[in-house]
């Protein structure tokens, strides 16, 4: 008997009991949708981490000033700028694990150009800022040595600023007024896109010296700075260097080991680890659900197939009387259980896609669907169908023609 004929006969008997077939595949449906969701969550987390590294650079620590609340009163983040360029030099000298440091001062202010008006964050920093933050140039160039040293009024702008001030026109060599001070645009950065919190492309970078002289002289007097991005030479040294920076900074700022520091170190890797960890916990949970429901689903299939074999004993006898071999009967019932589990597989994939779509829309979790998970679902559900359908099918095939025919 050909496969096409077997499938034709199988779908006939399944269709005569469609509700039963679908209910039987419920376990498979839940199992498969869990598998798909699980894989997507894992892949999504990995993708998000990769993207974050892409955006913020890897192996970076952020050192920021923070008002020390010795008297139990927080003065707010901006009230004190405890970090200085001297701190930066000291860190560089004392900790060889530090590959580079980009200092930063910043302000939010009005930008005027081309008759347009836009509020943007202006950063004063060095060329290291671009390398450490993984910024690429769409157009134009970095700062030149003499521009950095002389405090030239040159600026590099992000995509969002370009869009709002110049539309699609090239901003290079145009003049923009930052807080009424004219700057010449020398570079345009590649787009990075937004995070949940901020539009990274809504940015303007000018040389540190220029910023301190022309824009934030009052806010950051002397050699005060807002923060620094510290690049560590290797990821293994990241956590050790974080501790070393803490020690050095406490020494520089004369803060005891258990005193409240006037700075804070942000370790981005920590955040990423937490993100990965939570998706891992979720995946384990889903894997458990998937495993249990696939087994329960398999037993459900076995159960219903045993019932089917009993119900159709006489029919099996009739088929044998007209020439069905054991193999024909075995295949017929195996294909039926395979079809039930594949129905479950397909509905499970549909449900899984729904869940993935819903979760990523609703919770703003990044979920990435890969084709492997679809292939895996089919492999899973079909092997469940074959494994758990085998015993009932063999039971049917081993019937004696005359006993089956006489069965009432």
């Amino acid at each position: 008997m050909s496969l096409v004929d077997l499938i034709y006969l199988s779908q006939k008997s399944l269709r005569s009991n469609i509700l039963r077939s679908v209910l039987t595949s419920l376990g498979i449906i839940i199992g498969v949708s869990s598998v798909i969701t699980m894989i997507s969550i894992g892949a999504g987390a990995r993708l998000e981490v990769e993207q974050q590294i892409e955006r913020f650079g890897s192996n970076n620590l952020i050192l920021r000033s923070q008002s020390s609340n010795n008297r139990g009163v927080s003065m707010g983040n901006n009230s004190v700028n405890s970090l200085t360029l001297k701190d930066m030099e000291a860190l560089k000298n004392e900790l060889p694990a530090i590959a580079a440091i980009a200092p930063r001062v910043s302000l939010s202010t009005q930008i005027i150009a081309n008759g347009n008006n836009w509020l943007a964050t202006v950063t004063g920093s060095t060329n290291d800022y671009f390398a450490l933050g993984n910024w690429k140039f769409e157009n134009g160039r970095k700062f030149q040595e003499d521009e950095i040293n002389s405090g030239s009024r040159v600026a590099i702008i992000g995509k969002t600023v370009q869009k709002n001030l110049f539309g699609t026109d090239s901003p290079i060599d145009e003049v923009i007024r930052i807080n009424k001070v004219p700057f010449t645009v020398i570079g345009l950065l590649d787009a990075k896109g937004g995070t949940a919190w901020a539009d990274l492309d809504d940015t303007i970078i000018v040389p540190l010296k220029t910023a301190k002289q022309r824009l934030v002289a009052k806010k950051f007097p002397g050699d005060q700075i807002r923060s620094m991005t510290i690049n560590v030479s290797s990821s293994e040294l990241l956590f050790k260097t974080e501790k070393d920076i803490d020690t050095v900074m406490r020494k520089l700022h004369k803060i005891s080991a258990n005193g409240n520091p006037d700075f804070v170190i942000r370790n981005y890797a920590q955040f990423l680890n937490a993100r990965q960890e939570s998706s891992r916990v979720m995946s384990i949970l889903l894997a458990t659900v998937a495993g249990i429901s696939l087994i329960v689903g398999g037993i459900g299939i076995m159960n219903i197939m045993l019932v089917t074999v009993t119900e159709r004993t006489k029919e099996i006898g009739v088929c044998m009387s007209v020439g069905a071999k054991k193999r024909d009967v075995l295949l017929q019932f195996l294909i039926e259980s395979l079809m039930i589990s594949l129905i479950g597989g397909c509905l499970g994939i549909a449900l899984g896609l729904g869940v993935i779509f819903g979760v990523s829309e609703y919770f703003n979790w990044k979920m990435s669907l890969d084709y492997m998970s679809l292939v895996l679902s089919f492999v899973f559900s079909s092997s469940i169908g074959v494994i758990f359908g085998f015993y009932p099918a063999r039971k049917a095939a081993s019937l004696n023609p005359i006993d089956a025919l006489r069965y009432e």
Partner: protein, 227 residues
């Protein structure tokens, strides 16, 4: 065509043995129309099932077309039933989910014929029993006589040499019974060997030979002069 030597069929029910067939000898030639009669429980169906290779005897030898069936395995027996033997049952035994044409198709499916060939053969068989226009009807959309005709079509679709009919008219009224017997008679005229089990004397008269059984033995076996 059929040579049966000292075939015994024993059923063990708890402590006592039951001899359904007791050293039966019989041989049937190609083209014969044999009617088997006998009281209920005399072993007629048991003999038919053994002849039809649905059941195996406890002891004795069975030669079908000069081949010893006793040492055939289940696949070989299935093939024999598929190619050489057609069954007609008292209660029709059609598959309820399949329509008439698909039911007739069934033996051809197992013999691996392609769609074109088997549709042709099945349609011919249905035409032979006069049910070509009912090919799309399910068994529950057919009368008893029509169902039996479909099952005859199924039995003859694969061009078997032997047809076994165990009380084919047992569930039918006398008029419909005559229709069925006419079809069997025509098949026999075309050279198909027929073995028929019946309780009715006038139905048995269609046979060219009548065998009577009692308590698992053949007690009478003679030519039917009136046929």
């Amino acid at each position: 065509m059929i040579n049966i030597n000292a075939i015994t069929k024993e059923y063990i029910m708890g402590d006592n043995k039951l001899l359904a067939l007791n050293e039966v000898d019989v041989s049937i030639k190609e083209g014969e129309f044999v009617s088997i009669m006998g009281s209920s429980g005399s072993g007629k169906s048991t003999l038919m099932n053994i002849i039809g290779c649905l059941d195996v005897p406890t002891s004795g030898d069975y030669f079908f077309r000069n081949k010893n069936i006793s040492n055939y395995n289940s696949n070989m027996l299935a093939e024999l039933r598929n190619k050489d033997i057609g069954f007609i049952f008292q209660n029709f035994n059609l598959l309820p989910r399949l329509n008439a044409l698909e039911n007739v198709n069934l033996p051809l499916l197992y013999s691996g014929k392609n769609v074109k060939e088997r549709t042709k053969l099945s349609m011919e068989a249905l035409e032979n029993v006069g049910l070509k226009d009912r090919k799309d009807h399910k068994p529950n959309q057919l009368s008893g006589g029509q169902q039996q005709r479909v099952s005859i079509a199924r039995a003859i679709a694969g061009n078997p040499k032997l047809i076994l009919a165990d009380e084919p008219t047992g569930a039918l009224d006398s008029y419909t019974s005559l229709e069925i017997m006419k079809i069997l008679n025509d098949l026999n005229s075309n050279g198909i060997t027929i073995i028929l089990v019946t309780h009715e004397k006038d139905i048995a008269q269609y046979g060219s030979r009548i065998i009577k059984m009692k308590d698992g033995k053949i007690i009478e076996d003679k030519k039917n002069v009136s046929s």
